[in-house]
Amino acid sequence: MENKITSKQMLADLLDSHYRSALEAKAAGKIVAWATSICPQELLETLDIDVVYPENHAAAIGARKHASEFIEQAEGTGYSSDICSYARVNLGYADIRHSEAGDIPMPDLIFCCSNICNTVIKWYENLAKTLKIPLILFDMPFNHTFEIPEHSVAYMRGQIDHAICKLEEITKKRFDYDKFGEVMELSNQTCEWWKKATDLAKAEPSPLNGFDMFNYMAIIVCMRGKKEGREVFRLWHDELKEKADLGIGPWKDREEKYRVMWDGIACWPHLSVTYKTLKKYGINMVTSTYPESWNILYEKNDRNGMAAAYSANYANRNLDYGTGNVIKLVRDFRLDGIIYHSNRSCKLMDFRQYEVQRRIEAATGVPSVIFDGDQTDPRVFSEAQYETRIQALLEMMENNKAERQEQCKNSKRA
């Protein structure tokens, strides 16, 4: 009998081969790029350039509890402990060049898009300068208006065209526009399957436990423009759909009692405790702002559409857009509560977090808590404080549920 591979196995195999083939490419003398997580990777894929994503690598180092060594190295070099810990881990790695958590090849090219934050600009500039390699920078100013202004799209379009010329120079290859179209199409399909899969968590109970989504995220970051990337999300979607149709919830040994959203990046060094604390109370994290972050959709061969899609990345949109999106998530996913990760690393997300929380509470009445943590710096988290805040959220959700049941009983009586 044929053994069917699961999406989880496929995920592990793909990540393994992603990093292995990048190391092999480097050994064979091919160009390797380091790139930001939501950059126009279509250009690199078209030119068959191997890419690794320092954010993903830093997250993996954090999750395997190896971040401190690199953070200390970066801070010892003079980087402030106030800057993003992904940056500190990666800058430290660029010096040490080996981690028990897994290695990446050193880059020949830096490819940076500031639609995710401003820190990446100086982080990647410093890498390029220190390593004496070319930097292709996509400068994506924050969109202060609700709609993406035309000048923003035109600015990005210009930078895409410029990057193509630069890449032709660096690789000494002609850019193949037919292949570019195919990669565009494939990248869009991968995003569509990622969104379709994560949307299945709308079912009650949700077939998806959101901490699994954090794991699958590695593929949407690293393999968006590859067939294998699309296939893993299609398979994941089918598995979740089957569970949803059968009414199977997120866990074998526990029932989903409450549904929450997680705002912000995972707390990678404390992933297990943050997850288990929720699970123990039957709290399932069904969604976050991540499904929307990789919803990068545009028509094949439409470079203006592509420019708009990258400029319109969730993290690059204004407060009204951000709150509107979370309000929609509260309603679509029928959330009972929200957990805000006040992430020392991410100034962009934290800066508006209090106001987002205030607006969401006013619009939906859904209770929420904020906890202190960091995406990779293990020093900035207290398990007891996390537990207290989660338990307080649970108590508020319990009260709301009891009130709803009471109202339901009363209206039936009436």
Partner: protein, 265 residues
């Protein structure tokens, strides 16, 4: 009888309610989680209530040490317990400011003493009892004397640092440049009031406001908090034991509900 125990970072508090839901005893021992404090407070309160361990029908534990207290029937967070305790003691209070040894929180109370919303300080001692302890040490007085010292202030000296460590150096430098101890003490109180004011604004505070926790024993802090908010702020009775009282009220309600369910069955 029903017992609530609040095991904090620097003290342990116990409250006992009788069968009529009235307060039979409270006790506070200035030793927190991981010490002999919880046991001592428990024994003191039982003695004061004239009760034996077997007379206690239900125990609710709260505070940071709640998880390690094996004798509890249930654990409830200090956020819910403070809201419950205040609404049991003072029906009209809608916002609670609780300043304990290592954290500060502002809680908006809803119907039946339920938590509507709350905010807590970040992972930092700014705006907590620990901040005042450090200030008292630098000013060379006991924590109990800090309030009187600040009340004798004649000049306003702002302490601008929110971080306890930075504030300590700021205070030392103020004293070194000749500032009066009284004025610096008042500045430290005002720094807390401003910090808590920010939390009150975030939670959307509504009158009436009450203060709980050890810092509410500091009369001057309560007064300055009221001035900062432009609203009367009252210190809750038994301010340190409010969380334990709330836990005891929960113990009473849980036990009653269990009895009702048993009767229905």
């Amino acid at each position: 009888m029903y017992l609530g125990i609040d095991i904090g970072s620097s003290s342990s508090k116990v409250a006992i309610l009788n069968a009529r839901k009235e307060l039979a005893a409270t006790d506070v021992v200035n030793m927190g989680t991981g010490t002999a404090g919880p046991k001592a407070a428990l024994e003191n309160a039982l003695r004061a209530a004239g009760a034996a361990r077997e007379d206690i029908k239900y125990i609710v534990a709260t505070g940071y040490g709640r998880i390690n207290f094996g004798e509890a029937d249930q654990q409830i967070t200090e956020i819910s317990c403070h809201a419950k305790g205040v609404s049991h003691l003072m029906k009209d209070v809608e916002t609670v400011i609780d300043i304990g040894g290592q954290d500060a929180k502002v809680i908006k109370i809803g119907k039946d003493g339920k938590v509507k919303n709350f905010v807590m300080n970040e992972k930092c001692a700014a705006g907590t009892g620990r901040f005042l302890e450090v200030m008292a040490r630098v000013l060379g007085c006991r924590i109990e004397e800090l309030s009187d010292l600040a009340e004798r202030s004649v000049h306003d000296i702002p302490i601008s640092s929110v971080c306890t460590v930075f504030a300590e150096s700021e205070v030392i430098s103020r004293l070194a440049s000749g500032a009066a101890r009284e004025d610096v003490a008042k500045g430290a109180h005002n720094a807390i009031a401003k910090r808590i004011m920010g939390m009150c604004s975030r939670v959307g505070y509504e009158p009436l406001l009450a203060m709980t926790g050890g810092v509410a024993l500091n009369r001057n802090m309560v007064k300055l908090m009221g001035i900062e908010l432009g609203q009367p702020v009252i210190a809750a009775p038994y301010p340190q034991a409010v969380g334990a009282i709330g836990a005891a009220v929960f113990a009473y309600e849980k036990s009653e509900r269990a009895a009702e369910r048993a009767a229905e069955a």
